[in-house]
Amino acid sequence: MMGIIHSFRAALRFKGYKPKPLTWLAAKRWVMQFDKKDRKLAEHLLDSVIYISESRTREILIDQNAALMRRLLNAGLKPKQLIYVQVHDAGSSSPVMLNLLRDAAGLERMGCRFVDAHDSMRLIKTMNEVGEGALIYVDDFLGTGNQFCAERDFVATTIIGTFSEFVLAPSICEEAIYEISKRGVEAFTGHVHSKAERPLHANSSLFDNEEKERLELVCKGINKNGALGYKGLATMVVLYRNAPNTIPAVLRGSLNQTPFKGIFPRTTDLPIQKVV
């Protein structure tokens, strides 16, 4: 009975997860894949997931952006001096977040500028036109920060004029905060994801060592090399449009969802649908 209640609760909490919507039955089936002795542990792991829904994402982006704009306005920068930069290819999370923010906050009407970090020519021209202002990189989640920093470091070689740099994202891992602050880029985020919040991370004490080992073993059975996610980050943040690749394998499931079905499969984990 308790298991069913937990499954219902999970389906409600994680409502709106895009790659594969979660039903209470799917949540129940996910738990049932574990050995009987590990099922409670799996439920506890699921309780530690930090889910950021679409409305919450919009809310965080708008709030943080408003705070950033206030600060920049006080420093003497007008909206038309702000260049919003998407840092990954079209179709990935960064442009989606930027579009969401642009429309919700009416940035275009205010005269803000939007550039793709890959379009260096446009970026250089825009910076030359603006001369002094702020570069605001927008993304959904930063794990290690490596990917973001690689993109930003390339942008840095083309910076013309005097620009302060910021990154706006609903959630950022503490590892990434360290990496970006080394570069002098300041983070505006709704949530700093600490290691302590991640039950399977070595630095967390949410689970004891024996519990961690049991779940890690299941993860290794699913993905030997990426058991705890990319670089072993074992993060617990799940965004409505996709889970980051830094989450433990038990949450994502096997590739093509066979044999282990994940509760938050990434779009790339799902089997390809045949077009009839």
Partner: protein
């Protein structure tokens, strides 16, 4: 469920310009251009020891970009790096507080001043792509309404050669320039490609009616396609084309053959540079002769065991002659820059 705790950096204080502040390393933003190869590690180590003993005696110069809480360095990156490394090693100041950097806080630089700073970084970073520098130079040329190399060199600190190279890049239409700004180094066309291809394009446009009819942009496209298909294995190979043309000057039948080959090279996608032009280039023998000449010259000069001369007139003559040799050697060495290895990314 864990709470979502919003995080926003602390609002910076407004700092009047020209103020001397004592900053910690956390207050300072390293150079955006991350010039980690700029500094001699031995010199840096000496400076670090000195700072560990006496502290930073000469203030660094910083500015605060609008809205940024950290200070960006205008001058003093080496001192900053030393203090940062010392702080990482757990060293504290004499008062037991974190190590401090005395800093003159000045107004943010104007756009032109910022560009000049960027040029000074590019002066050191030979491994950097030249295209962003070229585009920045264009902004400077437009703003100051001058294209004079001497004026630009004086203003930007770039050498005459660098300015010439930038100007060559600027001769290409924007859609080609963009290919050198590709963030992905695997698909990026190196800036050197355009610099080396320019004389070949000029030659083809001047001497071949077919290429002229094709148009300069289409001809450039053909070269880019060839490069991507590895039919131009190294950008240095463009020099073989020009060399073939130059050395056939006194031999009209060979010259005509070279020009036909140039046309073919543009029109046949599978024709590889070396396959097309190696027969005209006799470089091996000339290189061997040059090597022998270098060795002979050195041996001869060393044999004189010259370290001084009592005659001022003789000394001046000898120094003048040596400078001429030096200048020629430097120009030759510069002309030979680059690698012929197709696996090595040019520029």
């Amino acid at each position: 469920m864990p709470n979502l705790k919003p995080m926003q950096p602390v609002v910076p204080q407004l700092i009047p310009a020209g103020l001397l502040r004592h900053l910690t390393v956390d207050d300072v933003k390293p150079s955006s251009n991350n010039p980690r190869h700029l500094f001699d590690p031995d010199e840096l180590e000496d400076l670090k020891k000195n700072i560990a003993e006496h502290g930073v005696l000469v203030p660094i110069t910083v500015y605060q970009a609008k809205g940024q809480s950290k200070f960006s360095i205008l001058d003093g990156e080496r001192r900053y790096r030393c203090v940062r490394d010392l702080a990482k090693e757990g060293r504290a100041g004499k008062d037991g507080q974190p190590l401090k950097l005395p800093a003159n806080v000045v107004e943010p630089p104007s756009k032109i001043a910022g560009l000049l700073y960027m040029f000074s970084i590019h002066n050191y970073r030979e491994d950097w792509e030249l295209m962003p520098t070229a585009l920045s130079l264009k902004f400077v040329m437009d703003d100051l309404e001058t294209e004079d190399n001497r004026a630009l060199a004086k203003l930007t600190g770039l050498s005459d050669t660098q300015i010439e190279r930038c100007k060559k890049l600027l001769k290409f239409p924007e859609r080609f320039q963009e290919l050198s700004l590709d963030p992905n180094p695997k698909t990026r066309i190196p800036s050197n490609f355009w610099i080396e291809a320019l004389p070949v394009l000029d030659l083809a446009m001047e001497t071949s009616q077919t290429i002229k009819e094709l148009g300069r942009d289409r001809a450039t496209d053909k070269l880019v396609e060839k490069y991507r298909d590895k039919k131009i294995k190294s950008v240095i190979h463009f020099r073989r084309i020009m060399e073939s043309y130059d050395i056939s000057e006194d031999d009209p039948p060979t010259r005509a053959k070279v020009l036909r080959r140039v046309e073919e090279f543009f029109l046949k996608p599978n024709l590889e540079t070396r396959d097309a032009f190696d027969e005209f280039v006799v470089d091996k023998k000339r290189v061997l002769n040059a090597l022998t000449a270098c060795e002979g010259f050195l041996t001869e000069l060393q044999r004189f065991r010259l370290t001084y001369t009592s005659s001022d007139e003789e000394r001046q003559s000898l120094r003048k002659a040596l400078k001429q040799v030096q200048a020629y050697c430097e120009s030759l060495e510069h002309a030979l820059e680059g690698r012929d290895d197709p696996e090595v990314q040019q520029d």
